[in-house]
Symmetry: T
Subunit: 71 residues, 12 copies
Amino acid sequence: MSHHHTYKKLEMVGTSPNSIEEAIQNAITEIANSVNNLDWFEVTETRGHIINNKVAHYQVTLKIGFRIENS
Amino acid sequence: MSHHHTYKKLEMVGTSPNSIEEAIQNAITEIANSVNNLDWFEVTETRGHIINNKVAHYQVTLKIGFRIENS
Amino acid sequence: MSHHHTYKKLEMVGTSPNSIEEAIQNAITEIANSVNNLDWFEVTETRGHIINNKVAHYQVTLKIGFRIENS
Amino acid sequence: MSHHHTYKKLEMVGTSPNSIEEAIQNAITEIANSVNNLDWFEVTETRGHIINNKVAHYQVTLKIGFRIENS
Amino acid sequence: MSHHHTYKKLEMVGTSPNSIEEAIQNAITEIANSVNNLDWFEVTETRGHIINNKVAHYQVTLKIGFRIENS
Amino acid sequence: MSHHHTYKKLEMVGTSPNSIEEAIQNAITEIANSVNNLDWFEVTETRGHIINNKVAHYQVTLKIGFRIENS
Amino acid sequence: MSHHHTYKKLEMVGTSPNSIEEAIQNAITEIANSVNNLDWFEVTETRGHIINNKVAHYQVTLKIGFRIENS
Amino acid sequence: MSHHHTYKKLEMVGTSPNSIEEAIQNAITEIANSVNNLDWFEVTETRGHIINNKVAHYQVTLKIGFRIENS
Amino acid sequence: MSHHHTYKKLEMVGTSPNSIEEAIQNAITEIANSVNNLDWFEVTETRGHIINNKVAHYQVTLKIGFRIENS
Amino acid sequence: MSHHHTYKKLEMVGTSPNSIEEAIQNAITEIANSVNNLDWFEVTETRGHIINNKVAHYQVTLKIGFRIENS
Amino acid sequence: MSHHHTYKKLEMVGTSPNSIEEAIQNAITEIANSVNNLDWFEVTETRGHIINNKVAHYQVTLKIGFRIENS
Amino acid sequence: MSHHHTYKKLEMVGTSPNSIEEAIQNAITEIANSVNNLDWFEVTETRGHIINNKVAHYQVTLKIGFRIENS
């Protein structure tokens, strides 16, 4: 039998008023409440909301990959 | 601590014999049975099945975004 | 010998003054005059012509798949 | 001197609570207040807002092409 | 009431030391432990890990579609 | 007069229960019944049908290029 | 009954030792031998063959649209 | 009459010697001199200029969306 | 205060009966009537109109970037 | 000083008369003659040459990533 | 003889535990050891590795352009 | 042992004040100083610099493929 792992990818939108990096970490922190074995992320979209001519929130869409338990 | 929300996106295929709009709504209605706080959708693909030279079903792939509870 | 079907895809532009769905059906109806076994379609582009600030025609590009006879 | 026309494309988001087609027409009607010679449109994105598990608005991004006056 | 099915798509990464086909099947076999009615897959990325100048694992990203129970 | 060839590309979907390579060859074998001078192919999509949690058919979309006779 | 036209798009590769424009025209001239009502083209790829460090042929892939007779 | 808003999107390139976030804000600040109701942005490209092996400026292309006055 | 420039990009379609290069220059010449500081262009689409089996006009879509005055 | 690695990606076309997997391995084996620390690959294109209605060679374009020595 | 420069683009992956900007600079600093006349970069992918639910490294893929010596 | 060739692709930007074709040839001529067996090119981007409302240089990005010596 061949040895192998299997992974799943979830698509999240993390937000932050401060930076793209913080928006990424916020999404990871949130999904870590319900998913184990988080392994990598891929940013697919960077956008944001503008209020009073300032960036109010960065909204970063990312795919988060994790190994399926016992795979 | 910075204030922020986090969102998740699911990918669905809604179908309808009648219209693209109905296929979109059918996917939303179905996922609403198990997910709260549905917020937006993005159409990523429009296709369909042909029977007897008529569109039998529109098949609309869409991503549906929702806010994660308590985020 | 393995059992299998083979399909061909044609690229059409259907038009309609009324709706995207009718433009799709118009392309299918037209190609059905010369091709059998039409099976599915995929929309690849939605555009249109404007006259007097009204949509005069929707122009929907779609790929139409059909099984090759006896394949 | 070679004879030719020149065109410009604007990117708009039309919205409608009812249909994708109405969202397209709403964007065209709005831009017609300030631009002449509207000639064609190209849909680049279809998305929308969900309220109470219903599509509240379709949001259709489209590029609208028009001939530059006297070109 | 119109008759229709609704589908969901999951994004997986299957791996195999042997072939792209086996990596695809491995992802399907794994997700079948927790999801019913698997219907189709779409490959979105093919990559892999190299050890000692040999392909150590193929890593195939695929979307797997399934019909939602009772839809 | 400049010397040149002209080519046409057809879009096919080959299928096979066994492998991606066989699906490609099946499409080529089928189209060779009606077209001469087949020259190259380009894979544009790899997907498949799942039955009982096994890949039942690979469905490989490919463009097949051929030189137009006497061009 | 709504009035409308239907179009078909063919994918060709025109070649020329001299220029991209000539490669485009060569493909159109060739397909005009067997198809009527040619209406527009869209370039999708520009590549070429190099011999002795010179461009030997431009190879321009284009889609050519034509109105279906009597549509 | 259906109630709806209409939006326009402008494409800008903001620059900054310091960070991607500052380049985004610089573009927003500049366009705010001539446009009201700025609502959201979407990053479409991130690039930059290198001088003496250091990033001299980040150049961030973004689309900026705003509601059309009185729409 | 950090020193920086800001740029805007417009999307145009230049046309010419003669060449792709002339279509590009025609768009630039036209927009130069109303915009200063034109700096660069990016071709995003090359298409054209066919009359009597000849290219009647090349239609080249391009984005044209310019520095915003006093930015 | 922050600890980090840096990687470079090369673009290769591996070929094989037998399979996609062998074409991938052939490219890796070849580049291993001149580059160390090969780490991963990403397939970006799968095409091939047809002779006498058979696949004569698979031509697989892949990017191959490797860690830069001492980085 | 026409005057012109020629440029080459390399594809790198820079990494950093701290920020996207630092990952970009790290790739530039590394390649500057072996290449002169670095001129610009283009980010093509932003991803990263997750350890213990924290971003462990940002991995930024970028193309780096430089003028070929004496061109 | 199966017989096969292996190819490498380089990414270049050729420039010319005169035409897209000359920019392509300029890149090929330059790289031919250091690389043998140049075989084909693929244009991936066409842009340029504007000075005084004229195209000052076409900048054509192309991938250039060559067979690896003795492969």
